[in-house]
């Protein structure tokens, strides 16, 4: 929204200056031609034309234009222009970004609430901002919202709002909208009862639900959603909500094909969380039902916590290891993740990962993207890996320090060798040595 606005002001200078000229009746090439044909002035442009132009303008520019004449002002309030709105709620003490003006918020609630369909709230790290978002939400009673996003841009500030306030605001939308299709409520205190309300009112329309890190939801709560929302195609949640039952529910005959499943694996008490395992048969059921599903797993665990994972074949497609991951674990990935498409490893110990990578290249035939941060691979091992994958590696993001020169290749040679196998220019990523 904000970005858009800046762009428009800069990119539409041509337009606004023309507009200014008209207003001031200064003679110009355009003005003079209009003067000859007085019937065709800007004010008499048909609604649909003005509307079309307005669709290209930011809200601020539309608001300015709306004060030009009655007709433009009418167009300003056409519902089409109020389908989507992004509320930005920031406090000057905690954010550099501006907020949506309170008057505008009031105007939207009064005049355009019933037009809103795609609504998001961006809040900064301040609790007041999240509370303000909840206050707006509770006033959206006459709406038919389809998409709702609650986005914390810095800290998860919705978590600081009292749970009852948050839940009652959210259920207002759940109850009133009745045709919600996409909901993004990561890092919020949403709970099982509110999900029940969601299901009761929107089970036919719900397609996307993102609720990573929502600690008040239980496995039973999410299971209720999966059981009844058969159109659900995308789901994001934390590992502790993932169960065999959930996967089976998502694989039932009545259910559409799942397209995207994101699972965040986070330990609440580092080093002490014991993670359950998911049965191989449950995964298999999911893949039988939705052969093309993307299964994205984000891991933020200590090395020793990886024990229960990837002991058996797991149909994961995208893997992200946000903290150190052991060599052994990466070895298991090569063995048990045949659907792997993308792999990102932030850090690993100091032992080179040659064997593990080569095994992954060998067994993960769909692998197209890999990123390595604080890891080590010998140059020869890396070249071997790239050679085996070849041109299918569309993303190859490797820090320069990852590659250890050996007898076969130094750093210059590796660039040309890897580029050759990829069929395009490739360089390792570098940080400034300043």
């Amino acid at each position: 929204m904000k970005r858009g606005r800046v762009n428009i002001t800069s990119k539409c200078q041509g337009f606004s200056s023309t507009e200014g000229r008209i207003k001031r009746q200064k003679p110009g090439p355009l003005g003079s031609s209009l003067a000859q044909r007085p019937a065709e002035d800007w004010g008499s442009l048909p609604h649909h034309v003005v509307l079309h132009i307005f669709q290209y303008l930011s809200l601020v520019d539309r608001a300015r234009a709306s004060s030009v004449c009655r007709r433009w002002n009418e167009v300003f309030h056409i519902p089409d222009l109020w389908r989507r709105f992004e509320f930005e709620l920031n406090q000057p003490a905690t954010s550099y970004l501006k907020s949506t003006h309170p008057d505008l918020i009031q105007q939207i609630i009064k005049r355009h609430a019933q037009h809103l369909q795609y609504v998001s709230f961006k809040v900064d790290s301040c609790t007041e901002s999240a509370e303000a978002a909840c206050n707006i939400l509770s006033q959206l009673v006459n709406c038919t919202i389809k998409t709702l996003g609650l986005i914390s841009t810095a800290r998860p500030s919705f978590m600081d709002v009292s749970q009852s306030h948050f839940v009652s605001a959210l259920t207002v939308v759940f109850v009133n909208s009745k045709s919600l299709s996409s909901i993004k409520i990561d890092d919020t205190p949403v709970d099982d009862p509110s999900l029940k309300v969601l299901v009761a009112n929107n089970s036919d329309t719900l397609k996307l639900l993102k609720m990573s890190s929502c600690p008040h939801v239980s496995p039973a709560g999410i299971l209720c959603v999966a059981d009844q929302c058969h159109g659900l195609r995308e789901l994001a949640l934390n590992y502790h909500l993932l169960s065999d039952e959930l996967l089976l529910a998502l694989s039932s005959e009545k259910h559409v094909h799942l397209e995207h499943l994101r699972i965040d694996v986070v330990s609440e008490t580092p080093g002490q969380t014991h993670f359950h395992t998911i049965k191989r048969s449950s995964w298999e059921a999911l893949i039988r039902h939705s052969p093309k599903v993307n299964i994205v797993m984000y891991f933020f665990l200590e090395e020793e916590e990886f024990e229960p994972f990837f002991r058996e074949e797991t149909p994961v497609t995208h893997l992200y290891f946000g903290r150190a991951v052991s060599k052994e674990m990466l070895g298991r990935i090569g063995l048990n993740c045949p659907r792997l498409v993308e792999l990102v490893v932030c850090a690993n110990g100091l032992e080179p990962l040659d064997e593990e990578l080569i095994r992954i290249a060998e067994r993960c035939k769909n692998l197209t993207a890999i990123g390595l941060g604080e890891c080590e691979v010998t140059c020869s091992g890396f070249v071997e890996f790239v050679k085996m994958c070849g041109g299918r590696l569309t993303q190859l993001s490797i820090m320069e320090e990852v590659l250890i020169p050996d007898n076969s290749y130094n750093m210059e040679q590796i660039h040309s060798e890897v580029s050759k196998h990829l069929g395009r220019m490739w360089f390792p990523d570098m940080m400034p040595t300043w």
């Binding site: 970005r3 858009g4 905690t94 961006k122 994001a236 220019m425 490739w426 300043w434």
Partner: protein
């Protein structure tokens, strides 16, 4: 008529390889070397005491070298624009020389002085010697815009003539009868001031680790390259062993000397070239070229040190958090690794580049989610080698705000240090309070059992702060935020963790959604016709299915490769329909590159829906 010259020192605090200084004495009768210093301003400036001490030592050294040539340095109290006109008159000046300053504010200041000089009938000679290359030439070669990746930059300079060899130092022979009128009251009027005179408290100041001055710089380069050049060879060709001593100030370190121009970058370059020729190895000038890269990126961008209004900087919704910032700056984060580095920085004025990565990542995208501009200001105060361009550029890099860094990887404030220095000697050195902690807990003392804390005579929460943040949680959230930002900027789908912001020349990489302020609109952008002016009217307008993905590559080396990488991401990993609703989706076009304009066919509803979710 007599030729009376002033050479104006700013950076370039040296007599060797100083082309502007040689111009000053060329056929001149008198030479006066001046340095402007505003004592009333000094105490209030953002520059810390270590940097002032270094500067004053540089000036002392210059003065003593000039004395050997029967000359002196004139340290003038005040602002150049106020004082130059008087000096021109008083000293009957006919020529003013100085080294070219490529930074936007320097250019502005110099333009004003040039104007004053021409009004006074003074000839002005400016020479480039703080950088290896003429930066305008690099920009010209790149089609009028500075390159935005280091690789692109390397490619450009590899096609240019090598930098000029260093010039001889100023000597009595070169002075050739040119004299400096010096009066008995020179010391009190023009002498190098003491720190106290600038209003600094000198009690409790740590001993000098980096002595300022040209003489020291030349000693260091001699040590590195002299005789068998063993140390240089080791420095350059050996993969640095990650250990404790790597983190300490090296007696061979050169970066502060390059910053103040006590050492000529061309001399350093020439010594490297000699060495490479001798050992018959491929030349690698990375250390010097990074510096050059940032100077080039900044030279026409007066908002290079800001997020807002800076066309190459991604807008990230950083948190304002003065308390957390202060804890970081004052080494009170409760993470020994971070605090030890910040202590070293404050005491000595220099930290290793890996340490810079660590603390910069911690402050910004890794843990505290505080704006890189704040970190940059702290470095500007404390870091001896902090240069406007380099400092801002590196901070943008570390915070993944520009220059296309991997953002999926955050340095762990516990694990990263432990890898480098498992025993924690670095921490023990700079944080004596933790000295008695066993190595097992020295990076995360809050995890130590009470008995261990008691035995170490350091209770976490009493004698040493508790950690300011839960790193696992903070980094998880921050990675997600970065991912959301990057996926909006790039075409790459999938996890989006590997997404890079496209750098395409011609196609503007206008990540900030602003018209380039400093760089004139190039012809290439216009060539896009229509879409250039339409692209951002509404974000998310590109809506064609994967097959509709179009790229406007203008065919420059790495830019193209990045484009193709990004382009490949669009080849239908996921069905089109799901993308429209997916928050994981990256099709929100907020900037450069992927401009698709299918307004007529676009179903506004779907477009809106997607836009709302993918953020």
């Amino acid at each position: 008529m007599a030729v009376n010259s002033i050479h104006w020192f700013r950076k370039g605090l040296r007599l060797h390889d100083n082309p502007a200084l040689l111009e000053a004495v060329q056929g001149a009768d008198t030479l006066r070397c001046v340095y402007f210093l505003d004592p009333w301003f000094a105490g209030a400036s953002s520059v810390g005491v270590n940097r002032w001490r270094f500067l004053l030592q540089c000036l002392e050294d210059l003065d003593s070298s000039l004395r050997k040539l029967n000359s002196r340095l004139f340290v003038i109290r005040g602002q150049p624009a106020n004082i130059f006109p008087r000096l021109f008159k008083e000293w009957k000046i006919s020529r003013l020389t100085f080294e070219c300053d490529s930074e936007p504010f320097g250019k502005e200041r110099d333009a004003a002085i040039k104007k004053l000089a021409s009004e006074a009938g003074v000839e002005v000679i400016v020479k480039t010697s703080h950088t290896l290359y003429n930066l305008d030439k690099i920009i010209e070669l790149n089609g009028g815009q500075p390159p935005l990746t280091y690789k692109r930059f390397q490619t450009l300079v590899s096609n240019m003539d090598p930098p000029d060899p260093p010039l001889e130092p100023l000597s009595k022979v070169l002075m050739n009868g040119c004299t400096t009128p010096v009066f008995h009251n020179h010391q009190e009027k023009y002498g190098v001031p003491l720190l106290e005179e600038l209003g600094f408290e000198t009690e409790g100041l740590c001993p000098v680790v980096w002595p300022g001055g040209e003489t020291e710089a030349l000693t260091r380069i001699e040590k590195q390259f002299g005789k068998d050049s063993a140390s240089a060879l080791q420095e350059i060709f050996e993969r640095p062993k990650l250990n404790f001593s790597l983190l300490l100030a090296s007696p061979l370190g050169l970066s502060p000397y390059l910053r103040f121009g006590c050492l000529s970058c061309r001399l350093f370059y020439a010594r490297l070239t000699q060495l490479y020729n001798k050992v018959k190895k491929n030349a690698n000038y990375d250390k010097l070229l990074w510096r050059e890269f940032f100077y080039t990126a900044a030279t026409n961008n007066p908002r290079f040190d800001k997020m807002e209004g800076n066309p190459i900087c991604i807008r990230i919704p950083w948190d304002k958090n003065p308390e957390a910032l202060a804890k970081w700056a004052e080494a009170k984060t409760g993470f020994p690794w971070i605090d030890a580095i910040m202590t070293q920085l404050r005491q000595e004025g220099w930290i290793h580049h890996l340490a810079r990565h660590a603390v910069a990542c911690f402050l910004t995208r890794g843990d505290l989610w505080i704006s890189w501009e704040e970190g940059m200001k702290v470095f500007e105060e404390l870091l001896l080698d902090a240069d406007w361009s380099m400092n801002a550029g590196s901070w943008m890099c570390h915070s993944c705000s520009s220059f296309f860094q991997q953002f999926f990887h955050c340095y762990c404030p516990v694990g990263f240090g432990r890898r480098i220095d498992p025993n924690g000697d670095f921490i023990r050195r700079y944080l004596p309070v933790l000295r008695d902690f066993p190595a097992k807990y020295i990076y995360d003392p809050w995890n130590a059992p009470e008995a261990v804390q008691l035995a170490a005579k350091c209770i976490v929460g009493v004698d040493y702060p508790k950690p300011i943040v839960n790193h696992a949680e903070a980094s998880r959230l921050n990675i997600e935020r970065m991912r959301q930002i990057y996926q909006q900027l790039s075409r790459y789908r999938g996890l989006s963790l590997l997404a890079t912001v496209p750098s395409s020349h011609g196609e503007d990489v206008n990540v900030n959604g602003l018209r380039r302020l400093a760089v004139p609109v190039s012809g290439k952008r216009r060539r896009g016709k229509g879409h250039g002016s339409r692209r951002d009217h509404r974000s998310g307008e590109e809506h064609a299915g994967p097959s509709g993905v179009k790229h406007h590559s203008t065919g420059f080396g790495d830019a193209q490769s990045r484009l193709s990488r990004l382009g490949n991401g669009g080849s239908g990993k996921r069905g089109r329909e799901s993308e429209q609703e997916s928050g994981d989706d990256s099709r929100l076009s907020a900037s450069g590159l992927k401009v698709q304009w299918h307004s007529k066919e676009t179903n506004a509803v779907q477009r809106d829906e997607r836009m709302t979710m993918s953020s």
